[in-house]
């Protein structure tokens, strides 16, 4: 029993944070919004260069064959900058699924290629237009297509960096049965990890503002109402993070216990993100309600991720299944299905 991260995991996370800190500044956000863009080619090249697109791919597909907990730390760093580019869905969910079904697919051979995924939990497909391949879903079976083989209808998300599409298609390359539950688990746990990053960024921005902004002759950060709002939001993060990390570490169990933990992570991490973003907007006052201060990007991303990869209700039902049909109590915190079979 050891709940600490390895040196290697911390290094990976540091690398990701440093890369994103350089390449996703508020200036980048604003330039991209002004131009209506949702990807940045130079940034994507740096991401590919760092190997982040290949973390979860098996070695025979040229990947690093690392685990979900490793990728979760990168997703958390991506959340901290509300990363516009499709790293998390492509490298965290779509690529590993495609690799499990069609390891020789051409899109996997190019580390710079992004892959999109249609999933029954999501009505729309993110970044389908710029993908080298789209993994498709029909009646439990998986298919694959390129964007020009399907009809894409763009819908407007409140998140200016989310490029989402209704995908209509008649024919595509069949890939056989696929593990859509595992895709959901990965989608949920990486959304949760992003939620942690979004939440911490929102608080960090609010703290910085509250130290500077003066009202009634002193920084607003000296007022208890501001302190307590942000402290409560930080409590939310502190008790979401261990759940997210445990969920990522246990995802491979693929049983009712691990699925409940993934669901728990998804619910509380996005709640933490929403709470922190709203607190941050309130602390920023009118400034927080303006387009010029970027805290709204965090709020909107948290809002979008809350509904994707399983709504809170879907995930609560999975936790309920574990709670009401399996043993409970303090000796079951790390239980696995076969322990009780």
């Amino acid at each position: 029993m050891d709940f600490t991260l390895t040196e290697e995991q911390r290094m990976f996370a540091d690398t990701a944070r440093a890369l994103f800190a350089d390449t996703v500044t508020p200036d980048h956000w604003r330039r991209m919004m002004a131009a209506g863009e949702t990807r940045d080619p130079a940034r994507w090249a740096a991401i590919v260069e760092s190997g982040f697109t290949q973390i979860l791919l098996p070695e025979d597909a040229g990947g690093l064959a690392l685990a979900e907990i490793d990728f979760a730390l990168i997703a958390e760093a991506a959340g901290y900058v509300a990363l516009p580019d499709p790293l998390v869905e492509s490298a965290g969910i779509a690529a590993p699924m495609l690799a499990s079904l069609a390891p020789d697919h051409a899109a996997l051979a190019d580390p710079a290629a992004s892959i999109a995924i249609q999933h029954p939990a999501n009505p729309l497909v993110a970044d389908a237009d710029s993908a080298a391949a789209i993994v498709l879903h029909r009646d439990g079976q998986a298919f694959v297509a390129t964007p020009d083989q399907v009809r894409l209808v763009r819908r407007e998300s409140i998140d200016p960096f989310r490029s989402v599409f209704a995908v209509e298609w008649d024919e595509a390359t069949p890939l056989g049965s696929a593990d859509w539950d595992l895709a959901l688990d990965r989608g949920a746990v990486f959304a949760a990890a992003q939620g942690l990053g979004l939440a911490q960024r929102a608080i960090d921005m609010a703290v910085a503002y509250a130290k500077e902004r003066q009202q009634f002759g002193k920084p607003i950060g000296t007022y208890q109402s501001v302190k307590h709002m942000l402290a409560s939001a930080q409590v939310g993060i502190e008790f979401a993070r261990p759940v997210v990390h445990a969920a990522a570490a246990q995802i491979g169990h693929r049983d009712v216990f691990s699925r409940a933990r993934v669901s728990h992570a998804k619910i509380v991490a996005l709640e933490a993100a929403d709470q922190a973003a709203r607190a941050s907007i309130q602390v920023h006052g009118a400034m927080g309600y303006s387009w010029e201060v970027d805290v709204h990007l965090l709020l909107k991303r948290a809002l979008a991720l809350t509904g994707q990869w399983g709504t809170p209700a879907v995930h609560r039902a999975r936790i309920g299944e574990r709670l009401f049909t399996r043993p409970t109590g303090p000796d079951t915190t790390f239980a696995r299905e076969y322990d009780h079979a």
């Binding site: 939990a121 999501n122 009505p123 729309l124 819908r155 407007e156 998300s157 409140i158 998140d159 989310r162 989402v164 003066q214 009202q215 009634f216 002759g217 607003i220 007022y223 109402s225 501001v226 709203r278 907007i281 309130q282 006052g285 009118a286 927080g288 309600y289 303006s290 387009w291 010029e292 709204h296 709020l299 909107k300 809002l303 979008a304 809350t306 509904g307 994707q308 709504t311 809170p312 209700a313 609560r316």
Partner: protein, 381 residues
Amino acid sequence: MDLAYTPEQQAFRAEVRAWLAANVPAEPLDHFDASREGFEAHRRWEATLKTGDWGMVTWPKEYGGRGLDLIQWLIFEEEYARAGAPGRVGQNGIFLLGPTLIEFGTQAQKERFLPPMASGEEIWAQAWSEPQAGSDLAGVRATAVRDGDAYVLNGHKIWSSRAAFADIAFGLFRAPGSERHKGLSLIFFPLDTPGVTVNPIRKINGHVGFAEIFLEDVRVPAFNRLGDEGQGWHICMATAGFERGLMLRSPARYQVAAAALADLWKVRGNSADPALEADVVRAFMNAEAYALSIYRTASALIAGASIGPEASTNKIFWSELDIHLHRTALAILGPEAELLSEPGAHDWIDDYIFSLAGPIYAGSNEIQRNIIAERMLGLPR
């Protein structure tokens, strides 16, 4: 206590309903903060309202009103919201400044400013905040220097709603060297006066709902000062009372939204989280409670009472119910909550984003809770 409408009140409701049914545009207008076109379309709607003398029914007839009481005003608001009539682009004038003008203005000022306010010929922006004076409004630094029959204004206002497209604004200006609550005057300045620069600011939904205003040696007639010189803080607090109180946020809009939420639940509830039904019911309860509270206040005002610090409880209640109501809608919409609406559909996500401004503007809810604690409950400063 008699909670039934009189036959006269029922007849008035029927009159309003009939007029609106005949006059409300079939197609929704572009939002007045979204574009100049949207703004001007709303101004034309105000002119249409004027043809029926519906600009501000509580005002005296000579200023474009109908001289009705607050219960009738509530009935008008109810029918207005029920009809889905356009938002009031003139709200800074008719709901905020107007009642203050009626209380503190000279006869000449009322004659000059109220009729075009009621008709939409002159649309008002507010200019309360400054970069260093938000919650701490007494920290305003903009100055007004008397020069003969005029004031010369200098300073920097921000978060001025409607200012991007409006005609005229009101704001607080201080005598040079004065401090805090003293030496402030409430002064009007047309936004096309030489020396005024207006820079629009986008809200988080992308609309230009705000502006910052730079004033450089802006010369306005002394006639544009409301009340006595140095009386600005006192007048401003009266205006804030209206803002937090029953004028700015009539209950009908929340009752309409709560009804829309119930309809959403009827359509989508089967595929949504069953636990959300409690939130749908709660949203209805909140809207009802707000309406009952405002009816009670209106009855008390008609009976001669005045609004005190309890107006701050209104601000907190409506802003929180608004957020809760829209969060419930988003939760029902689930994975589709993030999507901007298709044309003609209820725009839950945009209304949610708008609701987040509620606890911030018109005095943040933190300030309101201070006011309740100190002035209603008597806790020490």
